[in-house]
């Protein structure tokens, strides 16, 4: 721990305020999982410049005067946990935001601080953005080093940061894997949304559901190709207990997105059956891809085609079974009514029969 601290101080010396980001994080992380704190451990020490990220960094953007900033930074370095950091937990938490919105309004003093310091600082960024950059840089080294801390270190170094900044990621491979999957999913969603827009505007023809699903799964799986050598490690990492919820969440969002853009608007059990079927197809195709050595992963896409055809067959069989079932039920109901009539149990008719026989009896 102390060695880590020393390493971090060295990093800080190398890069002025920029590397300060890494140092206090490790000293002040008291919560078990750093990667669940998406923002704001740092937002208090940093002043968020970028307006595009302003909403995410609003918690404790308040650092109007340099003295406050220094005090807060010293408090962090000493290991004291700021209340704002405790509040700034998940991205988009509403609770902290309203309280800190008015403070954020006063962040126009950002620029005054910069001027006062007199240095030409690079843009301040949140911890989240920094982590994102390191993760993205680390992905480039994954084919070489695998999903390990070496890849992180190499990635951090390409960004000019100390390799000790990998201490930010206490869930190592899990963080990288989660980041990669989230990135792929968002790319897919963008592609699907664009296509949806095109179809809506009439620039493109809508595809058949089966074709759409097949293409979406293929597009998504193709994103794994550059990392396919080390993919088994990803799958095993996702199965670790602390990564399992994240992995399942990403998978469920992926499958929900694909079905939504395929046009599914169901609100009954078929919501679940459709997503379960697609999850099965996606996961099995992913596994087949690991073992596939055919050119261009042709075998994988054939496998995918076959699975889609199976699902189609199942769906049409289910419909036919239902129609047959309904016809059978109607037939049985008809038979039951006939039997009731024959047995004289149908009250209206028995009444008439009684009246009729009574009338006949009285006449005769």
């Amino acid at each position: 721990m102390t060695a880590l601290l020393r390493g971090l101080w060295v990093g800080r010396a190398l890069r002025g305020l920029g590397s300060v980001v890494a140092a206090p994080c490790t000293t002040t992380v008291t919560t078990p999982r750093c990667n669940t704190l998406r923002r704001g451990l740092y937002s208090s020490a940093l002043r968020p410049q970028g307006d595009s990220k302003a909403d995410k960094t609003s918690s404790s953007a308040a650092a109007p005067s340099p003295t406050n900033l220094h005090e807060r930074y010293r408090a962090h370095a000493a290991g004291g946990q700021d209340t704002t950091t405790a509040a700034g937990s998940l991205q988009g938490e509403a609770s902290a935001e309203p309280a800190t919105e008015p403070e954020e309004a006063s962040s126009s003093s950002d620029t005054s601080y910069q001027d006062q310091s007199g240095e030409q600082e690079e843009e301040y960024e949140t911890e989240e953005q920094l982590r994102g950059r390191i993760l993205t840089a680390a992905l480039g080294f994954v084919p070489l080093h695998g999903w390990t801390m070496e890849a992180f270190a190499a990635g951090a170094e390409t960004l000019g940061m100390s390799s000790a900044s990998t201490g930010m990621f206490d869930n190592g491979a899990g963080d990288m894997v989660s980041h990669f999957i989230a990135h792929c999913n968002s790319q897919l969603t963008e592609t699907l949304a664009e296509r949806h827009e095109q179809v809506r505007l009439g620039h493109a023809e809508p595809k058949e559901t089966a074709d759409f699903l097949r293409d979406a799964v293929e597009t998504r799986l193709r994103m794994h190709i550059p990392y396919i050598e080390k993919w088994p490690q990803v799958m095993s990492t996702l199965l670790l207990p602390h990564n399992l919820p994240d992995g399942l969440k990403h998978l469920s969002h992926l499958v929900d997105d694909i079905w939504y853009y395929a046009g599914d608007r169901s609100t009954d059990m078929s919501w679940y059956t459709k997503r379960a079927a697609l999850t099965g197809i996606y996961k099995t195709t992913e596994l087949v891809m690991l073992r596939d050595s055919s050119p261009g992963f042709r075998d994988t896409w054939n496998f995918l085609d076959n699975r889609m055809r199976d699902i189609n067959n199942m769906a049409s069989t289910a419909k036919r079974v239902q129609a047959t079932g309904e016809a059978v039920v109607q037939g049985l109901m008809g038979a039951a009514v006939t039997l009731k009539n024959l047995a004289g149990m149908n009250k209206r008719h028995t009444c008439n029969i009684l009246v009729f026989t009574a009338a006949q009896a009285s006449v005769s």
């Binding site: 988009g92 938490e93 509403a94 929900d256 939504y260």
Partner: protein, 222 residues
């Protein structure tokens, strides 16, 4: 009223992209107000917490209307050809409308329906059918119990939304209020038709209400 809303919308449409205005002006299924905003019933969620809250509310409302639908279906299966048939059919039609509206909202907002729908399907039908078999007063007592629970549930949702931000949720509040009023009408109809005269009314009513409350609690989460 429709024309006044239409007039107001056209005035407002000047400030809005023509396509969204056209979408607002399109008549919507059901008797509900045409909204005067660019989006439909729900505002785009600001964060995950709000989305989670709205998801829970809509999921349980959808499940509730689905259950009520099945209860009336069960009652109709038994009492459909009796004197009460037309009345129950009329109440059932209103529930179908509510269900359709909630299904639409769920689909639009990508809300997950509760996984217990098949259970509510069977349970609702059995509840309706069994109370109807006990007699038409018992069927009315069941209606009274269920509608009272649903109305109380809608009231608590209205309170929650009003506490959060009444302006943000005006359309949703309007819909829930309208549905709550119709449920209360059903409740009053049930009372008018001698629901209270069934023997063991207190027991029946409370048992059904307990079951409904449990169902609401579970459907919010699962």
């Amino acid at each position: 009223m429709q024309r006044a809303a239409h007039g107001a919308l056209q005035h407002w449409a000047i400030n809005v992209n023509l396509s969204t205005a056209r979408q607002c002006l399109k008549p919507r299924a059901g008797p509900l107000l045409v909204t005067s905003r660019g989006y439909s019933v729900l505002p785009p969620p600001r964060d995950t917490e709000e989305k989670a809250m709205l998801d829970r509310m809509l999921r349980v409302d959808h499940a509730g209307e689905y259950g009520a639908n099945r209860i009336y279906a069960g009652q109709m299966a038994v009492l459909g050809r009796s004197k009460m048939g037309p009345l129950i059919q009329q109440m059932w039609d209103q529930e179908k409308k509510h269900l359709a509206k909630f299904s639409e909202i769920l689909a639009e907002n990508r809300v997950r329906p509760t996984i217990l729908l098949p259970i509510w399907n069977v349970t609702g039908f059995l509840l309706g059918a069994s109370t109807a078999l006990l007699g038409k007063e018992a069927a009315m007592a069941c209606t009274v119990a269920v509608e009272e629970t649903i109305a109380a549930h809608y009231n608590s949702q209205i309170r929650a939304l009003m506490e959060e931000d009444p302006d943000r949720y005006t359309e949703l509040l309007t819909i829930i209020k309208e549905f709550r009023d119709e449920e209360l009408e059903h409740h009053d109809t049930g009372l008018e038709h001698n629901a209270e005269s069934v023997p063991g009314y207190w027991l029946l009513k409370n048992a059904i209400q307990l079951g409904c409350r449990a169902a609401i609690c579970i459907s919010e989460r699962v």
